[in-house]
């Protein structure tokens, strides 16, 4: 019965996709919002990287939602795993692993911050840079499991970074009567100090994502250690 349902479902979906393939305007889709943003995005927002302009300016509300989703996931994992004091049984890594992680830490930190701060100029931004930052802090934990990470500090950074994102939005709400409207002037297109508050928002996103992922991975590792 279950197999039959699965076959029916896959068959139906396959049929739909087949029909769809011949009906869609593939290659030449209508671009109502997209074309307009391509046209005026650089001028209105002042960000050389239009993807960031869309993420943080035109659809900043979506980005706030995505941030909250990640936060909800991390919080739910924390709730399920509990937060007892850890007794990690994993042995310390060997010399090469420890030396490697020591060397990698500053490099990852610099790359992560670079990607975050240049989000409005080059490909990258808060989410991508934040993941690199998380790696920077998680790699040393892999090499020295006993040391762990300070969850209190992480949740502090996480909370304040999220609050900063909303705070910048509320600042615009009270200054210009529009939540998340970019402030501080556009500057010169392509300069580091341009695109108004977008780099600040990027920074908040990066710190939040970084702290969240580092905390999430560490909790998962600690939970694994407890089980074994």
């Amino acid at each position: 019965m279950r197999n039959l349902a699965a076959v029916l479902f896959i068959g139906g979906l396959g049929f739909f996709l087949f029909v769809l393939f011949f009906r869609l305007p593939l290659g030449a889709p209508p671009l109502v919002a997209g074309a307009a943003i391509l046209e005026e995005g650089g001028e209105t927002v002042g960000a050389a990287n239009l993807v960031t302009a869309v993420l943080l300016a035109y659809r900043g509300m979506d980005t706030l939602g995505e941030l909250s989703i990640l936060f909800a996931a991390a919080t739910a994992v924390g709730l399920v795993l509990g937060r007892r004091q850890l007794v990690v049984s994993d042995p310390e890594g060997g010399f090469i692993l420890r030396a490697g992680s020591d060397l990698l830490f500053p490099l990852l930190l610099v790359v992560g911050l670079y990607v975050i701060l240049h989000g409005h100029l080059t490909p990258g931004g808060g989410f991508q840079g934040g993941v690199i930052l998380a790696a920077a802090f998680f790699v040393p934990v892999l090499a020295r499991p006993r040391r762990g990470l300070d969850h209190g500090l992480l949740s502090f950074v996480e909370g304040l970074a999220g609050a900063a994102f909303i705070g910048i939005g509320l600042w615009a709400l009270f200054a210009r009567d529009a939540f998340l409207e970019p402030l501080l002037g556009k500057g010169v297109l392509g300069h580091l100090f341009s695109a108004g508050t977008l780099p600040l928002l990027s920074m908040a996103v990066g710190l939040k994502v970084g702290a969240e992922l580092a905390g999430l991975m560490t909790s998962l590792m600690e939970a694994e250690g407890r089980e074994s």
């Binding site: 739909f16 029909v19 769809l20 009906r23 869609l24 305007p25 889709p29 209508p30 671009l31 109502v32 919002a33 997209g34 074309a35 307009a36 943003i37 209105t44 300016a57 035109y58 659809r59 900043g60 509300m61 979506d62 706030l64 939602g65 995505e66 909250s68 989703i69 936060f71 909800a72 996931a73 919080t75 739910a76 924390g78 709730l79 399920v80 509990g82 937060r83 209190g152 949740s155 502090f156 996480e158 909370g159 304040l160 999220g162 609050a163 909303i166 705070g167 939005g169 509320l170 615009a172 709400l173 210009r176 009567d177 529009a178 939540f179 998340l180 409207e181 970019p182």
Partner: protein, 489 residues
Amino acid sequence: MLPLILPVVLPLLAAFLVMPLARMSALIARALGPIVLTTSLVLLLPCCLDPPAQPLVLAIGNFAPPLGIVFYGDRLALLFANAVALFFLLFWDWRGGNPQQARQDALMLLLAASATGLALSGDLFNLYVFYELAAVASFGLVSLSGTGPALVATVRYLLVSAFGSVLALAGIALLYLQTGTLNLAQLGIDPEPLQGPAGLLAFGLMVIGFGVKAELFPLNYWVPEVYASAPARISALLAGLISKLAVLILLRLLVLVYGDTAAPQILLFLGILTIFFGEFSAWRAQDFPRMIAFSSIGQLGLVFIAFSLSGSWGVLAGIAVALHHLLVKSALFGLAHRWSGSLQALTGSAQRTPLAAALFVLFALSLIGVPPLPGFWTKILVLAGLAQEGSALAFTGLGAILLVTAVEAHYLFRFALQLYEKVENAPAGFRSFWEFLPSLLLGAALLAVTLRINPVADRLRAITQQAADRSFYITQVFPQAAAHRKDQP
């Protein structure tokens, strides 16, 4: 414009801050949630009691639609946003005492923010983001008890939900590929490209995706397990409120884009299957939370049947059924807090807690549709609409509703009689009426509506008139589109 943005943003801000704050002062962290929700309520209540003549339309960040995201607050959206603040306050965990209280409060606030966003947003992708946020926050909340069954139910819910989300996203992508926009009003300006098979497929995918939370058959088999193992107040919020907000998205799509297509027929068909599945399963259920969980599936089937009716009648009937169910089902889950055991174990509960049993009877009568309770009027609206429709499928729906009403009456009365049976050792049940205060308040509200049914009906008609009017929605978001339209004969 503050009532549109702050009720979404402030709970998010509080959710981010509640865990760092809890490290400094548990008291402040505990107070944060109720303060924020009360603020939302204070902001929204005037808009709901004395609605502005024109809907509130807000372009976030001053980016004019369709480039930016727009929030659209007509009477219906504001009513639901208001209900979110009100119901989250009613079912807030006032007692606390959980060692992970801060995390739990943060998830509640995230759920409240996403629910408000679902009511207010006028952009399809933004709605999807809020829908995802509601899903992820609810995963954490339904597994709160941490027992084995709760975790199993949560994993199942997570898998069904993730599957639905992927399909909904595929539907939205398909729609974007054909129209180049995600703004609901702009989709409504020129719905023609979407009324072909590819557009209907997009609608079907979105029905599956949003149908997971709306408890639509066959995507609802997570419902009974989750509602039976989650804390009762979380079940009350999910079954009462969040399911209605998922329905609201489908309603907007139906009104703006898919009104003239085969989409209503699909909904009617699925709705009939849903009420059959829900009510017959409820009839067989062995414990109280499962019984009302299945009954909630049946009621949502009724909502879908109502929305399939053409014109503003369908919208009126659907909203009436949805609001009635919001009130009644939340209240019933409020009782499930203590009545969580099997139905047998509850025999004779009326001896110790007569008030709770009386409340159950009141809600049961309204669910079945006994006049003069509001449930009667909502069912009559749907039945009359189906009779006017006249198609074979509509008459099938009419017969189905009458049949399952008999089933519904049977299992609800069976349980009511069981409650009033005389037994030696009556189960303890509630310690005081504080434990079911939300249900008591909702019961009072139900009686108030019964007594003042005419003003409520007038109010509802005004709400529906706005919500069912496609060109009204479009002209509110794009005033220039209306002018453009008038030029063309």
